[in-house]
């Protein structure tokens, strides 16, 4: 049950703080820092213990009563990274039961699975409107995941030798978050850029800022970009097809070729969905039955012959000559232009699941 807390106004993080009341913290740690054991306990399922454990105690000393760890959520590194949904559910129950003002996860340093667990815990907290903060080494693999976007991550050293510094930094930031205090940008506060950007009205126009930025660069003065370049995460390549002549192949396209009339009302830009369409028994895509609705390229050529974007005719010819096993009946369609990376990833996961169910071994994806 939520503890004693005056009914003050709730801000977006869901927590007002009456004067004098201690900030309520739930702390997520792995099996080692939770005092259960080492790697041999990495399968430990989520367990909730009252009060602080491990680094939580150091944080309580830092707070000197201003905040209290009301519960510690402990999960084994293997468990939390393998059985994500189950771990999420258990963490959610714990947070709903304790209703903290802030969740702290870690520090995970450079431990990848622990980092993933911290990311999961913070995401659950966010979904419940609870402020959260974690800490890990800047190149912890968990931070390359799209799921870590937007989270507040305090940078730490690579190993637990950096614990005193990390615990202190986490404690200070968590206290402010728990109190509902406004937090500055990553650059101002010292946490990692979180892949989160916010609209702003500058004092100067873009042109004025561009000329000023170039002058600084030309004078050799320090300068900062308003937008940092991003590197996409690598995807391990699927192993090569062993027997092409027996393989089931499917077609996927981001070129927006749909049945005439666009029956599923797919968007011309900024897709939020994908659709499968049957090409069973079709030797090619004809202009009377199919059309391009993609808004980002000159559709004249695809309108005349949709096979120019989705090569059904060529694949049928090759199928007939036994160059490969079979062309799957499903054509998977979406529109690529202006579509968020987040949505694109979701489409990929959903389509892949479908392909698996249909026993498809290889995919040809056409993009415009």
């Amino acid at each position: 049950m939520a503890g004693m807390r005056d009914a003050v106004s709730q801000n977006e993080t869901g927590h007002g703080q009456a004067l004098g009341a201690s900030v309520r913290v739930v702390h997520y740690v792995n099996q080692f820092f939770g005092g259960i054991g080492g790697e041999e306990h990495a399968d430990h399922r989520v367990e909730v213990r009252a009060g602080a454990s491990g680094p939580g105690r150091a944080m309580e000393r830092e707070w000197a009563g201003a905040a209290t760890v009301v519960a510690t959520v402990i999960a084994g590194d293997n468990h939390v990274s393998t059985f994500v949904q189950e771990a999420e559910a258990a963490i959610r129950s714990a947070l709903e039961a304790h209703r903290p003002d802030v969740l702290i996860a870690g520090p995970a340093f450079n431990a990848g699975r622990y980092g993933m667990g911290c990311v999961t815990a913070c995401r659950v907290a966010r979904s419940l409107g609870i402020a959260s903060v974690t800490a890990m080494f800047p190149t912890n693999p968990a931070l390359a995941m799209l799921e870590s976007r937007g989270l507040i991550v305090v940078p730490t050293d690579e190993t637990a030798l950096g614990m005193p510094k990390a615990a202190k930094a986490l404690a200070q930031l968590a206290l402010r978050l728990g109190r509902g205090e406004p937090i500055g940008s990553a650059a101002e506060e010292g946490f990692l850029p979180r892949g989160l950007r916010s609209d702003v009205w500058h004092e100067q126009t873009g042109a004025e800022r561009a000329i000023a930025l170039l002058k600084r660069k030309l004078l050799g003065q320090p300068y900062r970009s308003e937008l940092a370049i991003e590197v996409f995460d690598s995807v391990p390549p699927a192993p090569p097809l062993a027997r092409l002549t027996e393989a089931r192949i499917a077609l996927v396209t981001t070129g927006g070729i749909v049945p005439r009339g666009n029956p599923d009302r797919l968007r011309e830009y900024n897709s939020v969905t994908w659709r499968p369409y049957s090409i069973a028994g079709l030797d090619d895509l004809t202009a009377d039955a199919w059309e391009p609705i993609h808004g980002g390229y000159d559709s004249t050529f695809a309108r005349e012959d949709p096979d120019r974007v989705v090569p059904v005719d060529a694949l049928r010819l090759l199928e007939r000559s036994a160059a490969f096993g079979a062309l799957d009946d499903r054509l998977y369609v979406t529109v690529g232009v202006g579509t968020s990376v987040g949505n694109a990833r979701r489409f990929g996961e959903e389509i892949a699941r479908d392909l698996r169910e249909r026993d498809v071994q290889g995919v040809i994806l056409t993009a415009t």
Binding site: A210, L227, I229, E268, S340
Partner: protein, 435 residues
């Protein structure tokens, strides 16, 4: 032998109030326009079947729809205004030009939607005259002369694409000439390159426009840049009407003609010329080539021209969306390899919440980027008292087009339909920052 230096004297006549009157007349900042005469002028083009003239001022509870383009009233005293359109194709950018500052001539026309999508669709261009997003379009701060026109329905897209611009440019030139002929300007600005201390760093502005067919390209001296190589242009040419914006297909992601006529990177570099830098000139190129080889070719060409202009630094802009960013970033990359320091000005995606990937392409050398903000947030345009340009707006060409009342409210899934919002040449204060 002609001097290599081009001297442009822009005489500005300030307009702070506008109304209809018996003749075109400017006095004490108030511009009166002859409604019937302007309509007749437009109707001289037999491609136009109907023309109604409306006036819209800042702060009005109004929106303008079916916008095709906006031009600033401009008159080259020596002749040759808007070359390639209403004047022969001759290089502009020197001599004396009059402009009505604070006025825009906007042509509105519901163009036919003949295809269910694709890039060459004349989408709905909407401008709010008030509200939080009004600052992002060029019309909200102007006294607007709006030409509501209809075209003959037997015109192919390429003809429509030209007819709308002829209408606005004819009126823009006529207004400037009739209102200012023989009068003294409020301010005079002289634009001339050269004469700067050779020790000052030389800066080139590399301006990329797009060229993707009818309704989807920027005109250079009245023609598309399809087959033309990247070229050196004098910045005065841009201020003096060499570029006309034909990008009706991409409302947010376009640079209206009036913005080219007042390009703030050009005027800004001129302001610093001779003091903190030497404005060395401009390179103009198009993007959105359909093959990688051509993207590499123009990047090499544009950066080579910057090198020949002896650039120490360059500002790069692009326009429209999608793969066009690749030409500008490859150009930037090559400039940096040549030792030319670069700044890239661009809008971004990033999703409505700012938690998605901002740009669709990167090069590691792009370490100094200025962002003009995102179009990804959905928006509801409120009900207004007055809609100019049409009674309905058309959305979703891929569904055959759906109509909504122009008075609103209008729900947009993102901001694409809002006129000129991307701020391609840095004309707005909008942006995004890491938090």
């Amino acid at each position: 032998m002609a001097s290599a230096s081009a001297r442009l004297e822009r005489r500005s006549f300030e307009v702070s109030d506008i109304g209809f009157g018996p003749r075109i007349h400017l006095e004490g900042g108030r511009l009166e326009v002859d409604r019937a005469a302007l309509a007749d002028l437009v109707l001289r083009d037999d491609r136009v079947t109907r023309c109604n003239v409306e006036l819209v001022s800042p702060g009005e509870d109004a929106r303008i729809v079916h916008i095709c383009d906006t031009a600033e009233p401009q008159w080259r005293v020596g002749g040759g205004t808007f070359p390639g359109w209403i004047s022969p194709i001759r290089t502009v950018g020197e001599g004396v030009t009059h402009r009505l500052a604070g006025v825009g001539v906007t042509v509105c026309c519901e163009l036919p939607w003949r295809k269910t999508g694709g890039i060459q669709t004349p989408r709905e261009n909407i401008a709010e005259m008030r509200g939080p997003l009004a600052e992002l379009n060029p019309l909200s701060k102007l006294r607007n002369v709006v030409l509501e026109i209809a075209l003959r329905d037997d015109l192919p897209d390429e003809e429509c694409d030209r007819a709308v611009h002829v209408a606005e440019l004819r009126v823009a030139e006529h207004l400037a000439r009739e209102a200012t002929h023989g009068h003294e300007p409020d301010t005079v600005q002289v634009y001339e390159l050269g004469g700067a201390d050779p020790a000052l760093p030389r800066v080139v502005y590399i301006c990329q426009i797009t060229s993707q067919g009818p309704y989807a390209g920027t005109f250079y001296y009245g023609g598309y840049l399809d087959r033309l190589m990247p070229t050196i242009v004098h910045p005065n040419e841009i201020l003096d009407g060499a570029l006309v914006d034909g990008n009706i297909a991409g409302p947010w992601i376009r640079t209206p003609t009036i913005v080219h006529q007042n390009n703030p990177l050009i005027t800004g570099l001129y302001r610093d010329h001779g003091r903190e830098l030497s404005f060395a000139g401009m390179v103009l190129l198009r993007g959105h080539y359909y093959g990688m080889d051509d993207k590499y070719r123009v990047a090499q060409e544009a950066s080579k021209l910057a090198r020949w202009l002896r650039a120490d630094g360059a500002v790069l802009t692009w326009e429209n969306a999608g793969n066009g960013i690749m030409e500008s970033l490859y150009t930037l990359q090559e400039c940096e390899r040549l030792g030319i320091k670069t700044v890239f000005l661009t809008w971004e995606h990033g999703g409505a919440l700012g938690d998605d990937t901002p740009l669709q392409f990167y090069v590691p050398e792009a370490d100094a980027i200025v962002s003009t903000g995102s179009m990804d947030e959905p928006v509801v345009l409120p009900r207004v008292a007055r809609a100019i340009g049409g009674d309905t707006v058309r959305l979703n060409p891929q569904l055959g087009g759906e109509r909504h009342a122009a008075l609103g409210p209008i729900e947009l899934s993102w901001r694409l339909e809002l006129y000129g919002g991307a701020g391609h040449v840095g004309e707005t204060r909008y942006g995004r920052v890491d938090v």
